[in-house]
């Protein structure tokens, strides 16, 4: 695996961590902040509802595109890994055949 590939995978792992943190913090933070704003009269429930819906929509769209990008990357990585494995398997087969030939030659002589 080259350095660029490793960096990309580290980046994706960091992004997963960030999504995890976002999912843990934002619902509670939104609920608490909106409750305070509604009870102090700064916001009414309708405004809070539309703000929540907007935030949800933005999160959903962002997450969707991030997922597509990540899956594309994962598919490429898997494809490359399976290609490398096939190459190793073929080399093993060649080595095994060479060894067999060598053994046969030794027996004949």
């Amino acid at each position: 695996m080259d350095n660029k590939e490793q960096k990309l995978e580290d980046k994706i792992e960091q992004q997963v961590e960030r999504w995890d943190l976002f999912a843990r913090i934002i619902p509670t933070a939104f609920l608490v902040v909106c409750s305070i704003l509604i009870f102090t009269g700064i916001l009414d429930f309708q405004q809070a509802f539309w703000a929540g819906l907007g935030l949800f929509a933005v999160t959903a769209v962002t997450w969707w595109f991030w997922t597509i990008y990540t899956i594309k990357h994962l598919v490429r990585t898997l494809h490359r890994a399976s290609k490398n494995l096939a190459e190793v398997r073929r080399e093993f087969r060649d080595v095994s055949k060479d060894l067999e030939d060598l053994r046969k030659k030794n027996n004949e002589s």
Partner: protein, 158 residues
């Protein structure tokens, strides 16, 4: 921070986040249900003393009400089927026959009867009455201004 503590914090934040998300979803769905609900359900208004010949129109409203709603404005017009002339019924002069809470805020079954005088300049004939009402409804944390209209109320003046 040791590993065990980290796992506990992660589990606790997951539970709190899940509960918050559930609360938000329940509040959102409840709010949508409340805003889209009618003030009166399965309700209808009819004139009970057709044909009217004593100068007083008696109305009945039957149905049910799920949320607490307070009437803020009500008016009613009668349209002559033959000429199309419009006559405004005077709600300021209404009297209650069955209930003293015609458009109060009680929930549950609604069965109200009230009467209004026939407008002075209203000639005999067949009319269609329309009633418009506006309410301020309250449910849990929610507050919403709503309106509901009843039409096709048949009225015959003799």
């Amino acid at each position: 921070m040791n590993h065990k503590k980290f796992i506990i914090i992660k589990a606790v934040t997951s539970i709190i986040s899940g509960l918050s998300m559930t609360t938000l979803i329940i509040l959102g769905i409840t709010y949508l249900g409340f805003t889209n609900a009618f003030v009166f359900n399965n309700a209808g208004i009819a004139v009970t003393n057709n044909p009217v010949n004593n100068g007083q129109i008696n109305f009945i409203l039957e149905g049910s009400r799920k949320h607490e709603c307070t009437l803020t404005r009500v008016y009613s017009d009668a349209y002559n089927n033959a000429t199309g002339d419009k006559f405004e019924l005077d709600f300021a002069r209404k009297i209650y026959i069955r209930s003293n809470d015609y458009l109060g805020s009680d929930t549950g079954a609604v069965d109200h009867q009230w009467a209004m005088p026939v407008p002075d300049d209203m000639p005999p004939g067949v009319y269609e009455v329309k009633l418009y009402s506006e309410f301020d409804c309250v449910y849990l944390l929610f507050r919403q201004h709503k309106s509901q209209m009843f039409d096709n109320i048949s009225l015959i003046i003799e």
